[in-house]
């Protein structure tokens, strides 16, 4: 149940801080989203720039890049996902603890980008794992990554802890493990996880 906004401000003036469990929980979740320390291609350089002093991702509570998936909350897919790398990316995602989020950064990560028709490039990581925020660009500027990060924080803030749209980790039916594709004789098998990514209709 939400607290009336005006009442909250009034009570704040009196020195009483009122919140709801949901707000507190979401505030905690969104204020320390630690990304995982890995990059895949050129976009990773831009991601590194974002963490440095000029753009300073630390201002948003994401200062610590963790080198282990066990300690990370956010996977930034920063670059081209080759078919050789895709199983490892999915496996790393599986190893992350809930709650976990994914930002697909750049044209490559969202669709294969300039290499889309290549024999060795996955046409978008959302074929295997659920993506929270997509950023277009080749590469996206650090501001775009910051924007994606803020978008993710807003998304977390708006989540209700109960009901239909509750976060996956609070839903006992929620999927925790995503099948890792096999490297087959001609392609990855399966070529996409249809539960995560039903091929969108193209209307012409």
């Amino acid at each position: 149940m939400a607290v009336d906004e005006n009442l909250k401000i009034e009570m704040g003036k009196q020195g009483v801080f009122v919140t709801t469990l949901q707000e507190l929980y979401n505030w905690g979740r969104r204020s320390s989203v630690w990304p995982m320390n890995f990059g895949l291609a050129c976009c990773a350089i831009e991601m590194i720039a974002t963490t440095m002093a000029r753009y300073d991702l630390a201002r948003f509570g994401a200062e610590v890049f963790r080198p282990s998936p066990r300690q990370a909350d956010l996977m930034i897919i920063s670059g081209t996902v080759t078919k050789k790398m895709a199983p490892q990316v999915v496996r790393l995602y599986n190893q992350m603890g809930e709650p976990r989020y994914v930002i697909a950064m750049g044209a490559c990560a969202i669709s294969g980008g300039p290499f889309k028709q290549g024999y060795n490039v996955l046409k978008g990581i959302d074929r295997y794992i659920p993506v929270d925020v997509h950023i277009p660009g080749c590469p996206p500027r650090p501001e775009a990554l910051l924007d994606a990060f803020i978008t993710l924080q807003k998304k977390i803030d708006a989540q209700s802890l109960t009901g239909e749209n509750r976060p996956r980790h609070l839903n006992p039916e929620g999927q925790g493990e995503f099948p890792v594709p096999e490297q087959g004789e001609h392609d990855l098998e399966p070529p996409s996880n249809t539960l995560v990514w039903p091929a969108p209709m193209v209307i012409r």
């Binding site: 078919k83 050789k84 028709q117 024999y119 060795n120 046409k123 490297q183 087959g184 004789e185 001609h186 392609d187 070529p191 996409s192 091929a199 969108p200 193209v202």
Partner: protein, 225 residues
């Protein structure tokens, strides 16, 4: 540096029966190359590296090329005896007839090496090696024992073109995974059918996407019936 003809002569003097052929490059760059025979290539390479004057001590680049089977259409004049009726009488007449003949020149896989000399500061010398065909006789001698820098590049060509380098110390795929069956840089390679979502397709991609949609539709109809 010696001219390509001089290098050819030097090779033939040093390696008897080398069978080196000059392939001219008619473009302005005029980078002519030497076609080596598979049997003697290793000896020739050894000579090019160790010869005091040539001293090609640096292999900078190894490339693969896929040459498909070529269909050659020729017009030939053929003499034929034809039965004709001249003035109401049947006669045997000799005639020259134009005939188009087709023959297929078999394709092959090719490796191109670019050599330089650090010591003498000259180069490049371009070597070519050709396999017997594109399908089952795809062995070429490896130059890795002579120039270490060939190792990864030959592995890459093995991976992408399927040329098998005999004498290579560690011939494994380098870009694609173990168990991958195709050779993606060959001209007749067909990509896997992952064209389910092509929002801005055109040309060949649009065609593949349409084929994919048709296949999906057919499978759905088949399932419903």
């Amino acid at each position: 540096m010696k001219t390509i003809e001089e290098i050819k002569a030097a090779i033939e003097a040093a390696v008897p029966g080398a069978g080196v052929e000059i392939i001219n490059n008619p473009s302005p760059s005029a980078q002519h190359s030497l076609l080596l025979q598979r049997e003697t290539a290793l000896a020739v390479a050894q000579f090019l590296r160790d010869d005091a004057e040539l001293a090609f001590d640096y292999l900078s680049n190894v490339t693969g090329v896929d040459w498909l089977d070529k269909e050659i259409v020729e017009k030939v004049k053929v003499k034929k005896t034809v039965t004709k009726t001249v003035d109401g009488v049947e006669q045997q007449v000799e005639e020259t007839v134009d005939e188009t003949r087709k023959r297929v020149e078999p394709g092959y896989l090719e490796t191109v090496y670019h050599l330089y000399s650090m010591a003498k500061k000259h180069g490049p010398l371009i070597l070519r090696l050709r396999t017997a065909n594109r399908t089952d006789q795809v062995e070429l001698p490896s130059f890795t024992p002579i120039w270490r820098s060939a190792e990864f590049q030959e592995r890459e060509i093995f991976d992408l073109y399927g040329i098998v380098y005999t004498g290579h110390p560690d011939l494994r795929r380098i870009l694609m995974w173990e168990g991958f069956k195709d050779h993606p840089m060959r001209k007749d390679y067909v990509e896997p059918d992952d064209f389910e979502y092509e929002p801005t397709a055109h040309d060949a991609v649009a065609k593949r996407a349409q084929e994919h949609q048709a296949k999906v539709a057919a499978a759905q109809n088949g399932g419903a019936a």
